[in-house]
């Protein structure tokens, strides 16, 4: 009896585990492991990018994150693409942002991208430090206030234009009424 239960449970465990992880692997991004642990180059431009990024942090994950940040993807898109959590992406970007040499290399990457790809957009988005983020938020707030002020001015201007149009129509109607010929007066005949 014990033997039957033991064998049955091992069988079920083995079959379920095999099917579940087989399904997960079928829906994951798979990287073949070669002599050099990197993705095969898709084009000559990609080879140049690999030459640049080989000087960046050794970790394959950090290299992948830098490439995706250069393409302008958000943290959630990067997390989905690399099958990692968003918090891991943020931690990695924060670690990269702390390294001054990485900032310099990111700036060099920007120069290379501009030269190589010409008008290639979007530009590299450097990870923001806290102080830079506060400055940017203040600037956004100021710009939104200015925008609101201009919108109010525009609304006032619209009202004035409407009022002028109404007045113009009224004046034209009055002018038309003044120009109307007076009805002829009855002829008085004196006998």
């Amino acid at each position: 009896m014990v033997y039957d239960v033991f064998i049955f449970s091992l069988t079920v465990l083995g079959i379920v585990t095999a099917l579940v992880y087989s399904h997960k692997i079928a829906h994951s991004r798979v990287y073949p492991v070669g002599m050099v642990r990197k993705m095969p180059a898709a084009s000559p431009a990609q080879e140049r990018v690999d030459e640049i990024t080989v000087h960046l942090p050794d970790s394959l994950l950090q290299g992948d994150i830098i490439e995706l940040v250069a393409k302008g993807l958000s943290n959630s898109d990067i997390a989905k693409d690399l099958h990692i959590s968003e918090s891991e992406v943020k931690r990695c970007i924060h670690r990269l942002a702390l390294g001054a040499s990485v900032k310099k290399k990111a700036a060099n990457w920007q120069i290379f991208a501009d030269k190589e790809f010409g008008t290639f957009q979007p530009r590299l988005r450097q990870p923001l430090l806290h102080a830079e983020r506060l400055t940017l938020e203040a600037e956004v707030t100021e710009q939104s206030e200015i925008l609101e002020h201009h919108l109010n001015l525009f609304a006032d201007l619209e009202k004035r234009v409407r009022r002028l149009e109404v007045e113009k129509v009224r004046m034209s109607q009055e002018a038309a009424a003044e120009e109307k010929p007076h009805p002829p007066q009855a002829e008085v005949i004196v006998h």
Binding site: G14, A18, I25, A26
Partner: protein, 146 residues
């Protein structure tokens, strides 16, 4: 798939071929006790090969799949041993008596599931692995390495 890939998949199948052509066809003995663990071992070797040739970043799916393959092989081996004892006993009266034996079902369900999983992953991932191997060979030749 090239000849290299077919060799990779057919060499681990030697125990299966030995069971069918040697034990069953040549010696005329029942292959049932030996066939199930051979099939399970074949799938295990394929999964080990795949586990060592591809990577999923920050995930351990290949490791767990290989552990599942090992578990299936273990169950298949234990139950095949009991099936072999059953076949040499007086309770064995023919194929119907084998089919009614639960060890037979445990052994072959584990080995068949393992085989299907291993072969499916192999046929799906082997082209990627071969592309990487060929590009590595080309890079090595291009670099002038011996």
């Amino acid at each position: 798939m090239g000849i290299e890939s077919w060799l990779k998949i057919s060499l681990p199948a030697f125990p299966v071929a030995f069971t069918i052509f040697g034990v069953w066809l040549y010696w005329g003995e029942s292959p049932l006790p030996l066939l199930a663990p051979s099939l399970a071992f074949w799938s295990l070797v394929i999964l080990f090969y795949l586990f060592s040739h591809f990577d999923i970043p920050n995930r351990s799916y290949p490791l767990f799949l290989t552990i599942a393959g090992t578990l299936l092989w273990t169950v298949s081996s234990i139950t095949s041993h009991n099936l072999g004892k059953f076949l040499t006993s007086n309770r064995y009266t023919g194929f119907v008596s084998v089919v009614s034996n639960k060890d037979f079902w445990f052994a072959y369900s584990c080995s068949v599931v393992g085989c299907i999983v291993g072969l499916r992953q192999f046929f799906r991932l082997e082209p990627l692995i071969m592309n990487q191997i060929q590009s590595d060979r080309a890079a090595r030749i291009g670099a002038g390495a011996p």
